[in-house]
Symmetry: C2
């Protein structure tokens, strides 16, 4: 057959840049609009990672400007540690080049693809190079380069390079131009809003055409930079072990201790004996017949899980709750952080939160916010293990209706923090269906579901009680009036009874015979911190409880008592005076307040 020879002529290598130029959708460049978001996201990922490494509070400028009919210029500038000039070409104009790929720790960038992909997309759509400026030190000048990727070889090409003055002492600025049709304003703001929530220490200044605004930082603490750890024995695969042993000149015991996380001398010896291998044998001499039992031993010996605290940087419950509350003014919000776990040797932690009510849309599917390594995931929701896990929870058993996602005024946030997030593609839109990760998400959501159920049933119970109380209270004054009529006495004051039934804080002031009496009952189920204001001509100099504060103006005395009342507790103060004036409480919710001023 001559055909095989003919076919052979067409067989050749494909450069990785050629590959991704043809398959740009895999990098998140499906459409021109999306291209803008992906570019900014990749640049910001790099900026935040670099600032974290330098322990600098990130101050990031994002600018999107239409410079001709269909060409947009995107600039992202940070105050990070900068990049040395020798590395600038490869960092920005070579796919599969970076510092974080080979490290075992949580970072936003991990593939060595992101920003170079944006450079590739820019030159593909406009033919224009990307302009990068970076400065590493106040003592040196900044370097500006104009870069393209040579597609056939995936190598950087420097079109120009000069030293320039720059106002920033250190930092990096990248400027790209590409074709698009709109500035993707809404999606960009959405992306920055969610990025701010999970990076409260970062400040973003945004310029979209002639508009500018700022996402201020709400915390001035740089999160600790995750520390790179060694791989864990449970996550190693045979091929990798084979490569590691071939490259090492250590004896087995030392190799195990040196190369792996959580393996001490004792564990190493245990592994050797379980594999029936001499602990002093040179690992480079081991063949498959020894490596197979060695790997088995490594993965069956009891070894502690990798310490997640070092290499991972979860957002924390507190910051999640703060961020979500600020955004949505929720009636209910709860966050959970699962303990650290492992898949294929990679540490990960799942954090999740559920919010209810507030400003959330009352109908339709829940809002699902997905994050991986502190980066919001904005596309491919349907492809994501997070979505899958949320849909597989039986929400009905938590009192929530469901059609795929739960429905109603519900917000679900899930954050997967991992030393290697298993994304379904280079565009980093969706987490792959790794059973260990799905399981942790499910457990977090189930815990939160139980909390939500309690909230909902308490709310329902409260609502029921409230309805009943309201019904009773509506007839009490009528009964009182009727009774008064029958016994021919003045109608009694029923506010106190109503207050008790309605579970309110009731404030009552009365005066008689030159004595003034102020009484507060806390009929609610919670402790209340109350500021009681009493403004009248009386100075209350002989008050049984002296006021915390008194001031006088034109013969009117403002007296303030700071009172803390547990549920069911009461407060009373009396003083000599003629009463009148006005009375008020602060610190009690309006709908829980009953003020009965019998002294007007």
């Amino acid at each position: 057959m001559v055909l095989a020879d003919e076919l052979a002529k067409k067989q050749r290598s494909i450069s990785v840049a050629e590959f991704f130029e043809k398959n740009k959708q895999m990098l998140g460049f499906d459409s021109p609009t999306r291209g803008i978001i992906t570019t900014i996201k990749e640049a910001i990922d790099n900026s935040l990672d670099a600032c974290e490494e330098a322990q600098v509070l990130p101050d990031i400028l994002v600018s999107v400007r239409r410079i001709s009919n269909d060409v947009f210029r995107v600039v992202v500038e940070d105050n990070g540690p900068g990049i040395v000039p020798e590395k600038m070409p490869s960092v920005f104009a070579k796919l599969l080049y970076g510092s974080r790929f080979h490290q075992v720790r949580q970072t936003r960038g991990q593939q060595g693809i992101g920003i170079s992909a944006a450079v590739l997309y820019a030159q593909l759509t406009t033919g224009k190079p990307t302009i990068v400026t970076s400065r590493t030190d106040a003592k040196n000048k900044a370097h500006t380069m104009s870069l393209v990727i040579k597609t056939e070889t995936n190598e950087p090409e420097v079109l120009s390079h000069e030293e320039v003055d720059w106002i920033l002492p250190h930092g990096t600025r990248v400027q790209l131009e590409f074709k698009s049709n709109i500035a993707a304003r809404k999606k960009l703001i959405e992306y920055l809003k969610y990025t701010s929530i999970v990076n409260p220490h970062a400040k973003f200044r945004v310029e979209i055409d002639d508009e500018s605004f700022t996402f201020e930082r709400v915390s001035s603490e740089v999160p600790p930079c995750p520390v790179a750890i060694k791989p864990h024995p449970y996550g190693i695969e045979l091929g990798v072990l084979k490569r590691m042993t071939a490259a090492s000149d250590l004896p087995l015991k030392e190799f195990l201790v040196e190369s792996f996380s959580k393996v001490g001398e004792k564990t190493a010896l245990e592994i050797c004996s379980s594999a029936r291998l001499d602990s002093a044998v040179k690992v480079s001499s081991l063949g498959l017949e020894s490596l197979n039992p060695l790997l088995d031993a490594m993965q069956t010996t009891k070894i502690p899980a990798p310490s997640a605290s070092q290499c991972l940087s979860p957002i924390t419950d507190e910051l999640i709750v703060k961020g979500m509350e600020k955004e949505f003014e929720l009636d209910f919000i709860k966050a959970r952080t699962r303990p650290g776990s492992v898949y294929g040797g990679h540490s990960f932690i799942v954090e999740a939160a559920i919010g209810y009510g507030g400003k959330l849309p009352p109908e339709g599917s829940a809002i699902l916010l997905r994050f991986a390594n502190r980066v919001p995931l904005l596309y491919q929701q349907g492809a994501c293990a997070i979505t899958n896990a949320v849909q597989n929870v039986n929400w009905k058993s938590y009192g929530v209706s469901q059609s795929g996602l739960p429905t109603g005024p519900i917000l679900i946030l899930v954050h997967v923090a991992a030393t290697n997030v298993p994304f379904t593609s280079e565009s980093k839109d969706a987490v792959a269906a790794v059973p260990e990760i799905e399981r942790e998400i499910t457990l977090a959501l189930q815990e939160l579901g139980r909390d939500l159920k309690m909230f909902l049933s308490r709310r329902d119970r409260n609502k029921l009680q409230d309805d009943r109380a309201r019904a009773i209270c509506s007839v009490i004054p009528l009964i009182a009036a009727k009774v008064g009529e029958i016994v021919e006495l003045p109608v009694p004051d029923t506010s106190l009874i109503e207050g008790r039934i309605m579970r309110r804080v009731v404030l009552k002031k009365s005066s008689a015979g030159g004595k003034v009496m102020i009484h507060i009952d806390n009929y609610t189920t919670k402790s209340q911190e109350i500021s009681l204001y009493d403004i009248s001509g009386d100075n209350a100099g002989d008050a049984t409880v002296p006021p915390s504060f008194v001031s006088e103006m034109d013969g009117e005395y403002t007296k303030i008592w700071k009172v803390t009342l547990s549920a069911g507790e009461a407060f009373e103060v009396t003083y000599t005076g003629s009463g009148g004036g006005m009375i008020e409480m602060q610190g009690v919710a309006e709908n829980l307040k009953v003020v009965v001023d019998l002294d007007v």
Copy 2:
């Protein structure tokens, strides 16, 4: 800042093999079970493509065998054209190497990644090389090689190479071993079933452990091998145009005619004048200031769409309908092929089909079968543009309930055939959200929706008529009896009336005075092919319509008439005899049959 220098030390290249070893989920190796399916799929894609190129009827062996507790051996063997020995290492043990990446035509493999990814996965999980045997010609021996990928460099390593005798005159056999837990039997059969439907010319022999079975070919016609075409001017991006012009020594007009599909001299001149460029200018001299207007001109000048028929190979309506009917015995089935279309310069065609009823599950979401370039897509349904398009159709307007997907006994098949299918990732599970493709899918589904609606409303109307008829028929005998009673006559036979009302085929036999009469009325709306059986002591020698067949046994004559009756038509035969015996029809559905034997 020293930090930038420190960070620079960690910055380095990542080999594409290293990248995919760490991100194996992107290649479809999320889990061991899936690994088996992905491997077989990649090998079969190659086999089918190669057989198509050689115009050979594919005869493919797939074998999956557990060879130890957790190690499985997968073999795929084909009768394709084979691979020359010099190319075997790179084809199987180098990622991003292949013959189809740079060609503009429909192929199953297009990335140069698939089978090498499987080799990478095998060596990663078992440390074992992949064994490839290939023969290109009966005159030469076969070559067997044992291959691994050097991960750090993405280069093939040949561990052994020998010439061997082989029973096949030409073909390729690949054998891989990897860790898994189960043989993924069900998913494998599903994959092969759907692959057979869209490749009816292929035969698959399957061996899973000790079980073996065959998917026979149902067509012995090899589909024509799609012909590679030149890129279309509408789909070129500036970066690519820049590269093409830089590498060419042609004048502009000749460059346009030579390099692009559907550009003749006249069109080329039109483009030149619209771009205000000299048609004789050497293209290698053109800078961005000329290339930008040139591209604009290329994309605004009216140029016919690329001819889909050459470079694409749709399944065709006929084969889709055949395949689906065979599998599901549907009540309704319709397929549509949209005209060829273009996205980003890549030709594509959408084919779709809808089936209803039959053996489909009556409740729950519709079954959705997705195909791309004749390959079934089995994973990541939620991430796929096909799913998205199906969900965005308003199925309620076609009389079908919907909750995301349509619900009920519905089957939807969509095939996207393209010179470059925009997959969301290297695992080729899902089509990316390209607006042009989604639009074509939507249009195909809307056309089919209208057909389905007509079927459903006709069916509903029939059902309504049936219900009404049933109601009337249930009282007719009572009325007849009552009338008989009143007029003191025997109760008349009402079956004929009922048959007419109910739209049945009514067969009636009676005899009187030594004459037998058999009468058939086709009251249905369709033509009926009926075999009428009449078994009695009469030989019907003088029948007015001679029987098609007569036989005698122990004095009983079986007479058969083959009768075709259009809707509304009747048949009658009489003969001399005494009647009795039995009578029956075949060829008419049981629920349409009324037999009235008045001659028992």
